[in-house]
Symmetry: C2
């Protein structure tokens, strides 16, 4: 018998289709043999030596060897305009705002071929530090209310450039999806006097059925009402509404945590296309007791079809508990893979 599960944070129902259930390993990517990427491409705007091809640089983070590990530049094809004021227009029933905001690219290292899963942990921490510094800087702009940091890896995830990178879009509005999550979390706080995410984290660690890993500062788990196979969340164990509140010590641990999870996906499922995104409270709500920032990692192993578009309900053919077990046991780096094989 299939099961409907409710996402507590959005009130969305998900169909866990156990009748059509797949074993997690059945979703392993079957890639046609592809040529590995070169470590340098002469035409790539993000490769070292081509810095003149990527416009304005906002930030550069170097490693101990003095070479850069992360560069933040303006997106050449920005979705929003950096200049101007977000003026609102109300005309009959139309509601519009000038498209003012920021759209930046975080280049994740000089190597054209090295995806996040294959970087050293402390290099990933440098990338996350770039996120944090840009987040802090941009959040202070009074025109901005929501900063979304995200990564598209692979064509199925919407990536159009090979060189490893992530992006940041800062908008003058709070999106419906974020407002909705804030609202549900506030309702829970109003009724129970606790952060709904803190409560869930405690319950999940206690039940230990969907937890992938726990580190000093983070917990990685498959959500109970996971909408798609291997959707995975990383939560800070300490209560924090805003990504801007993360400490340097926590960022170092997060570099290890995120790298390990992406390594498990890379070696366990053969480098699936994926997105990840930082879901944070809007900057004007930093410090609230009811929301809890986290990272959602969303492998793109299945396609959204008419039922999902028409109802908003997802059909997930992999049990979150089975996905968690698979990821707990998956190797996270080349050395472990070679030892196991």
């Amino acid at each position: 018998m299939p099961e409907l599960r409710q996402n507590r944070f959005t009130k969305e129902w998900v169909i866990i289709a156990t009748e059509r259930a797949k074993r997690p390993e059945e979703l392993k990517v079957n890639r046609p043999e592809v040529k590995p990427l070169p470590s340098y491409s002469p035409t790539c705007p993000f490769c070292p030596g081509n810095e003149q091809l990527a416009p304005t640089e906002f930030l550069r983070i170097n490693g101990p060897d003095g070479k850069w590990r992360a560069r933040v530049v303006a997106n050449k094809f920005a979705a929003l305009s950096r200049e101007g004021e977000p003026t609102r227009k109300v005309e009959k029933s139309k509601r519009t705002i000038n498209g003012v905001g920021m759209h930046e690219v975080i280049i994740e290292g000089p190597n054209h071929a090295l995806t996040t899963a294959l970087l050293p942990d402390d290099h990933v921490t440098s990338i996350l530090t770039a996120y944090k510094l840009r987040y802090d800087e941009i959040s202070r702009d009074p025109r901005i209310t929501q900063v979304t940091i995200f990564k598209n890896h692979g064509t199925a995830a919407g990536a159009s450039l090979e060189h490893p990178h992530s992006q940041l879009i800062a908008a003058p509005v709070i999106s419906h999806q974020v407002r909705d999550r804030m609202f549900e979390a506030l309702r829970h706080y109003d009724e129970f006097g606790e952060c709904i995410f803190c409560q869930m984290i405690a319950e999940e660690i206690d039940e230990n059925a969907r937890v992938v890993m726990v580190t000093d500062h983070f917990v990685v788990l498959e959500p109970f009402a996971s909408p798609t196979p291997f959707t995975t969340h990383i939560y800070p164990r300490r209560h924090m509404a805003s990504f801007g509140d993360v400490s340097m010590e926590e960022l170092a641990d997060l570099g290890h945590t995120l790298r390990t999870l992406l390594g498990k996906l890379y070696f366990g499922l053969d480098d699936p296309d994926f997105n990840y995104t930082v879901r944070t409270a809007p900057s004007e709500n930093a410090g609230v007791k009811y929301y809890h920032w986290h990272i959602s990692v969303i492998p793109r192993l299945t396609r959204v079809a008419g039922f999902e578009l028409g109802s908003g309900m997802f059909i997930n053919t992999v049990l979150p508990e089975a996905a968690a077990e698979f990821l707990r046991n998956a190797n996270a780096d080349k050395a472990s893979v070679e030892k196991a094989g």
Copy 2:
């Protein structure tokens, strides 16, 4: 300058990225040369003569020649189970319901190769009549609260079988997306005493910037805050909350309207993959004054990436006004294409 536009029906903001704007014809599908489908496939469970391969038949609609035009069968890989009761379980913070519901396939004709855009109008009406008869029958089941009818055309839209077909999923819950639209429409009604959709239809026909076509009973338009290129809505001009309230005369007109729109997409954009879905009030809300059923047609020309997943905001690179103009001028059938060419 890009523009943020608010979807009145969901309160979602969309970025209309005019700086990266594409002319509509740039989105024309560039298909590698593919072999046309055969009109009959011996292994296809939906082809005539193979009826034993598709299980239980619920309905068959014949044409004037006595041959079937539409058959409704059970989905062999049903996401929900037809038998049982939708029992709700509340255990700590988990909310689950037995996965009871219906999952049916509407086979859209005997010809393996004839997609909806190429069928005669009255054949499309027969398919829509099958939707309506199944909708009425299933809505009466007290275990069911929401019936979603949808079509996946092409692999990018999630279709896994070639033979033209659509699907129906009946669930024991109202999805968050539907509840959200109902709620926003009710708020509008509460404030203005009118259906927000009726009001929009009048305003759109008056402004005539995003209207694709108007028939006796329907209006086809690009929504003002369209989330993706060529997302197109078909609204009945008469106020009706539920798809179950559509009349036979209206269904005949809808067959013509839907076929014409799909023909314009087929000939104008070279057979893009697409989904469509009927967005209706739940059966328990049939007759409400504030909601208005419609069909959303969603060509799958772009990919959802991390920003959309992380914020719920879409970036649309085609102006809805430009898409409407393109579709107004597009040929809808082979005869017009040949005359024009």
